[in-house]
Symmetry: C2
Subunit: 425 residues, 2 copies
Amino acid sequence: MSGRFSEKDVQEEQMHFSNVVTAFQQYAQYSLAANNRRRKDMYTLSQADRALLDAIGYKKKLQEVDTAILANADFLNRIVADPEIFGHDLSAGEYSAEDDPNEDSSRHQKSWNSLDPPSRGDDNPCSHGHSHYGHTHSHGHNLQTSDPRRPHGQGKYKPTDFDMDKLRSTLKQFVRDWSEDGKSERDLCYEPMKRALEEHFEGQERGKLRVLVPGAGLGRLAYDVATLGFSCQGNEFSHYMLLSSHLILNKTDSIGEHTIYPYIHSFSNIPSKAAMLRPVKIPDVRPSDIPPGTDFSLVAGDFEEIYGDDVADESESHAGRWDAVLTCFFIDTAKNAVNYLRIIHRILAPGGVWINLGPLLWHFENNDTGDPSIELDLEEVRELARKIGFQLSDERTIETSYTSNDQSMLGYIYKAAFWKATKAS
Amino acid sequence: MSGRFSEKDVQEEQMHFSNVVTAFQQYAQYSLAANNRRRKDMYTLSQADRALLDAIGYKKKLQEVDTAILANADFLNRIVADPEIFGHDLSAGEYSAEDDPNEDSSRHQKSWNSLDPPSRGDDNPCSHGHSHYGHTHSHGHNLQTSDPRRPHGQGKYKPTDFDMDKLRSTLKQFVRDWSEDGKSERDLCYEPMKRALEEHFEGQERGKLRVLVPGAGLGRLAYDVATLGFSCQGNEFSHYMLLSSHLILNKTDSIGEHTIYPYIHSFSNIPSKAAMLRPVKIPDVRPSDIPPGTDFSLVAGDFEEIYGDDVADESESHAGRWDAVLTCFFIDTAKNAVNYLRIIHRILAPGGVWINLGPLLWHFENNDTGDPSIELDLEEVRELARKIGFQLSDERTIETSYTSNDQSMLGYIYKAAFWKATKAS
């Protein structure tokens, strides 16, 4: 499979990974500067206004936010403390395209059983795509239009606002997937999907049933499905997510081991200082408590490239190999949803089931990177699914937030579409 | 007052106005191109995928969106059909800074009784600021960071994404303020404010009570307050809003005279074609039905400059001249809310009342124009109000959307803060 990737692909991939690691490392510097801007702005005011702001505690709050930024930085630095395990050759973020023209392209393959560090040469078919929009579900369409892939020279990469937004989203993803605070969101989203999966395969031996979770993010849904006894593979594409899930799944020993402050980055729509500065403990479970023998893996790379079956070797084909595909806030990451749906249909085994939950926030709408984008409405997606050969059932709407700050004065509520789909033809 | 403005200020102001008019005129071209991108993207797909999209009606939908864009363009062109009435010297959008070095700065003053075209030399003190963030309440913080004020040469101004976002927001503001569809939002926001106003002045002669509505937008709250019999002045700063409210208040004769399609600009989170393409009729009332003798005016310009009392002539001072100030989704437009609150406190008459409703989406947070921004949380704003000399009462939270597409799969809900405040000191 690695034959499909040119040296240039591999180098771009390496560079992108290096840039993401640098973004993690530069979080403190960037965020402290953003907060310090507020301090400077105070000094543009009259002395009387400054005194009033002092009196209501604004200046003191800025100090407390600095402290919280440093705590977040400590956590983020832990995530990238040992990035070499991902098979990338990093020189403290100084990697440049010129460094290693003879890069072994076998490094391009990586997947690992979670709870173990990834290693090269794993049997699972996998690859990294070379187009790197993270799959976090962001409200900020515009952010997508920055291209984080810009080449850089020998100098240290300077993270962009786009990178930092990804980092801040990553912190909120931790809340969603691995904190007690995220339980209500998980209950709304993951529970109906898990129930539908259990019902569909009622009475069957779960360990023999292969479940795929594309867009696995920080891995909680895939982990939960594995914990239910199914053989489960998550697939994820964003380096932000992959680095982060590795910390949680493989390097975290106890409940509440990490403390993060996910709500300190915007000062808008905040009811109180306590709401903004509230800490969140990570994780809510010990991932290593997963029963021995559980088949749970995460595969890094682009869904279409990995499962799209552009392979010469029949034995590597995914066609008909999956008993269930669970897509949660995923299908709108497609440039062309027709292809996503065709792939899901093709890889499902006879009697298999596709369970979907999510909105239609088309991630590539308004991109300025020249990527095509097909943006269907919900009726069209359902009609498309039927035409591709699915039979839909249990169609309903689930109202849910997504990595939402439930104490914000602005709430986002998705009317997410749920359905089960089986192969009709 | 015009002595405060330099020739450069006046020229920048003219240029900005000209650019906004150009944005209205360029809407069709820009929006058709954006939609045509979708058509082109279809041709990057395989023939089989294209055929499927055809079969589910995607291509036909793109044509219908084109038709709706042209209908919107017709409406927007009506708004700027006669911009000279605003006292600006336009040459079909070709104005440039070099055109008129001897520009009469008295043109900088404008205000008008609504229901009449504005004229120069009106008695009301007023001015245009030269910093032009519109006051529409946008969810997209990032958009704010584009600077629409960039100078241009002799060539036609090319509207930016920022300008076009303002236009799309303007269409949604029409729904909120002047359509039957906006009634539920208005009932949630304007009704409690009007009730509080009526209660505060129960039994008093309304015509003698002067009510100010800063951030008046398209003018509905101010219009409603005037209709209740109060003497009401709206204040607005955005050219998008000012041009648009002029059409509704002064050039619209019948209910449902205009038809717009506010929901066609994003293809994300759309449940169905019908939801996206649904027309909205404007207006829901005949603004000219306002009772004769009603004192209702709109003043164009920056709130701090107009009401901040930086005047030598005591007779022009606003201090103590207003019986009520109604701020709806307004206080977070401040760079420095301390100054907003001081001004509101200063201009209120003894026994006067400040009625507030809104979130705290600080409009200047993350700006990249070098403007200072003080971003308080709700507890701090309330504490600040008390320190400035207000006594707060009737404090509560009102859950409401703001120019929301209620059929979208993504809903925004504000937990807006409501309060009444009187001068305690």
